[in-house]
Amino acid sequence: MAVADVVISFMVFVSIYAILSYGMNLKYGHTGLLDFGHVGFYLIGAYTSVLFVLGPDDPGDFTAYVIGLGDVPFVGTWIVGIVAGTVLAGIVGGLVALPTIRLREDYLAITVLGISVIFQRIVQAEEWLFNGPDALRGYSPPLKSLFPLEMNTMIGAALFGIITLVIWAAATGLLGRERNHESRFPLAGLYAVTTFGLARLGGEDGSLNDAQVAALAGVVAGVLATVLLTALDPILALGVLLSLYTWFVAGVAIAHLYDGLGRREWLAGIAFGTGFLVALLPVPMADSLAVKSLGTIVLLGALVSAYLYAVRNVAWFDSAKITVVGVASLWFVGIWYFVLPILGPLGNGYVPAALATLFRNVVWVLKFGGDVGTTYAVAFLGELTINVDYSRFILAGFGLFMGALYYVLEVTVQSPFGRVLRAVRNDEDVVMSLGKDPFVYKIQSMVIGSALGGFAGALWAMYAQGLVFTMFAPRITFITLLIMFIGGAGNNKGMILGAAIYWGFQQATSQLAAFFPPAVRVNVLAFRFVVIGLLFLVILYYLPEGLLGREEFGSEVSDE
């Protein structure tokens, strides 16, 4: 699998968990309700949505479930399923909240955890409901059969148009935020071009805000792509253009993020990134298990000690300690993404193969290889078979949900409603003394937060294409809490960052675990949870506000 495909599945996980964490964040970060049973709503969303797309249960086979609405017209679709799962999770969240919400926060946490375990046990015990302890399968995600896309058909072109829409809107939205900062590139001019002139509608006196402009630009780009594909079939050119645009915007954003960084901070970051790479070398290189594990642990330990030493003893390092880790991670990811995949071909002297690999990873929007697809002969690279696979489409869809929900949530928490939620979190008595009923707001927060959990569950069901009760263990709630605290409780953007960090860690460690013999893989995978637990403690103690801290409120409200 090309590295780009690994990254795409990573981003799908990030979008699901970001949405799941939005829900937790609304409950705890904004309202102060510690919901240790968040996974219960994730479960409800997942199983409910699946009932809408499963065909009617065949009593003769080995699976059993209560009802399958897949054959009912209009009702038996994913859209209805997702909506139903979300709504039901919200309703159940409200019902669960009614008796528990007036409890002390620790009692609340424990009882809601208990309720989520009850949900899990019900799924496990009731065989007629969702196939009991066995997996519930037999459904497929929407439009799956159309992939890989056939570009010469109208529907293929349209679906690629949707993918283009989402990617373009996301990149343009980010560019819109960056365009006001100093840069060596003419960002404002570029923005005018990539928004197709729509930027004029926004701005100071315009009626549209940046997000709306970006969404419109995405629509225009999507329609353009569809038309172009139908007329001319320039899929490679479109893919390259889209990919390069995203890389450019990402580069600009990173450059801005680390703008004020001096040379020594850069060097320190790169040194630590490289050190990290070296520390992990024993895992793929060494043969003996002892060297693999102990060697890596010793090297990592040395690296962490060096980091801590520098934090304690070097003033400039201490003030840039998080930035250095950020730079190190970027450096590490950059090498992993661009350099490592081409080392193999280069070592064997196949320069064209190395270039082809690099090209494939740069043009991440397209998938290369396979039997179906358009074949191009490109100079230096040789023949490339191009197709657009389902994972890109899923990513576009989930990314769209993640972005749209982020927007809705921002509107919500920045509004007077969000202000009351924060006041409830601070001191309920004050809220009462000001004539507002905290109960009503807490219930609403639980309903919406749980509904978000249900929504994420429905997306998970779609992605996983099979559900087992063990997927909904209390561990998921713990991971959601971790994501929330990494990013910063009370900060919706932090949920995306937290989910990215968590899944980055997960993906990286699963790749490393693959180098261990199968017999000890369980142990290695368990060890990474130990590391996650330690990381959680470190964050809670040293960075209780998370990486991004609390969101700023109040200053932008009237501008909208």
């Binding site: 510690l34 926060e105 208990g114 713990f478 605290f485 369980v522 949870f529 637990g533 330690l534 809670l540």
Partner: protein, 473 residues
């Protein structure tokens, strides 16, 4: 014709389940109450205890440690030395946790002794425990002892390495909860990192010498109760395979039964009256319970005339109980008794109760709250080790989720009891009984619903009284 088990059997099972829950819940409640940590890692402490015992019970199955063992259940010299050393260090570690070097020198005894005496006594104790452990390898009791001392020494480290740090930052209780969740993760997956995913079990020699013969402690004895026109008949039998051997039949007439019950109630009432108002170790309720129980046992033996199993009883029910289950219950009672004595009759116990009432006030009054805190964690570790090992033995399979399954019932018991040691004991038995009787009484409810039943009880109680049964407002 075999007699069906019924409500009585579920009750007996519930008492055994409740005993295990109580052993865990006591530590949880102490820590929750005095150290103010709702410890989500408590379940995993039980798991830790269960796995630690494997080092003694089945050393050949423990990764890395197996290199030192000379057979599946033999440790060899190096392994023995290792276990001895760990036990000795653990015992000294427990004392050290109570207040560093000064504690080792006897500083926590409450009386002035020369440092050498303190060191000597602790040292001898440590050597004795180490010797006992190594001499007993691979017996179950030796494994239990080993787990107890190891947890007693390591569990307080959670306080000094993690929770004390958070407490010093004056965080909300929610933060403590989340921190303990992280500790739970580290503990659980740390165990899995070492032991992997395989299911394990103890190997216990089930037959022990007893009254001249041998007794299989895991084998159930069946107590069949028959209600007939002329009284109650109790028939005790043992089933091995297809054979069923009648051990004893006891018959009681209605008058005898009535008399015993009446006398028991009377003795209980008198004992209650006599001890009323005393704050001694044996308070009024305990005295009443002892008195009543004593009379019932005495009466049962005295009047236990022969009888025969009636052909058509009015009502018949069977209770299955193995010596092991009875042993679990008795061990729980003994440990609770010990804790009760500690809380009521020792300086440390008084300090603990004072700290529980009001930590700031206790500190002002010169109570060493840090020592109190550490002793609470030590006790929590000791009880968790016993609960974990017993649980592993009873379930006869040990997985990394062993303790987590029990965490929710334990929390239910603690919250039902309003976060106090005595409340937790009562709450645990309520939860244990509710779990077993609920599964028995509600038709179609599979055993998967044990924990849900416990939680439904908790939810119902909290609906009516949000602060728990005995909690204040």
């Amino acid at each position: 014709m075999a007699v069906e088990t019924g409500l009585l059997n579920a009750t007996v099972t519930g008492i055994v389940t409740g005993s295990i829950i109580a052993l865990g819940a006591i530590g949880l409640a102490l820590v929750y109450d005095i150290a103010e940590v709702p410890n989500f890692a408590h379940g995993d402490m039980l798991t830790f205890g269960a796995y630690t015992a494997l080092l003694v019970n089945k050393p050949g199955s423990v990764p890395v440690f197996e290199l030192l063992s000379t057979g599946p259940r033999q440790v060899g010299t190096a392994g023995g030395a290792f276990l001895f050393l760990v036990s000795v260090v653990s015992v000294l570690g427990i004392v050290y946790n109570l207040g560093g070097r000064a504690a080792l020198e006897g500083g926590w005894w409450g009386i002035d002794v020369p440092p050498a005496v303190g060191l000597g006594v602790h040292g001898l104790l440590a050597l004795a425990v180490g010797g006992l452990v190594v001499a007993g390898v691979p017996s179950f009791l030796s494994a239990l002892l080993f787990a107890v001392v190891v947890l007693g020494a390591t569990v307080p480290l959670m306080e000094s390495l993690v929770f004390r740090k958070f407490r010093e930052k004056d965080v909300e209780v929610a933060m403590m909860l989340i921190a303990s969740l992280a500790v739970a993760f580290i503990l659980r997956f740390g165990i899995q990192t070492i032991f992997g995913g395989a299911i394990r079990f103890y190997e216990v020699d089930a037959s022990v010498p007893f009254a001249g013969g041998s007794l299989d402690i895991t084998l159930s004895k069946f107590f069949d109760f028959f209600l007939a026109g002329d009284g109650l008949i109790l028939s005790i039998q043992e089933t091995r395979g297809a054979e069923s051997a009648k051990l004893l039949v006891l018959g009681y007439s209605w008058i005898e039964l009535l008399a015993v019950v009446a006398v028991a109630a009377g003795v209980g009432y008198l004992a209650y009256k006599r001890r009323e108002g005393t704050a001694a170790v044996v308070g009024p309720r305990l005295a009443a319970a002892f008195g009543g129980l004593g009379v019932v046992l005495l009466g049962g033996t005295l009047f236990g005339g022969g009888g025969s199993v009636p052909e058509a009883p009015l009502y018949a029910t069977r209770v299955g109980a193995s010596p092991l289950r009875v042993g679990v219950f008795l061990l729980a009672l003994v440990m609770m008794g010990g804790l009760h004595y500690l809380l009521r009759a020792t300086t440390l116990g008084k300090a603990m109760r004072a700290t529980s009432d009001n930590r700031d006030l206790a500190m002002v009054r010169g109570i060493n709250t840090r020592r109190v805190m550490m002793s609470v964690w030590i006790i929590s570790g000791l009880f968790a080790a016993v609960a974990g090992v017993l649980l592993g033995f009873l379930f006869s399979n040990i997985t990394i989720n062993l303790g987590f399954y029990l965490l929710l019932p334990m929390f239910a018991g603690v919250i039902l009891g309003g976060i106090s040691v005595y409340g937790a004991i009562v709450g645990s038995y309520v939860v244990g009984l509710a779990m077993e009787i609920g599964i028995f009484a509600i038709p179609g409810l599979s055993a998967t619903y044990r924990v849900p039943v416990a939680f439904v009880i908790l939810l119902l109680v909290l609906l009516v009284k949000p602060e728990g049964i005995t909690g204040g407002s």
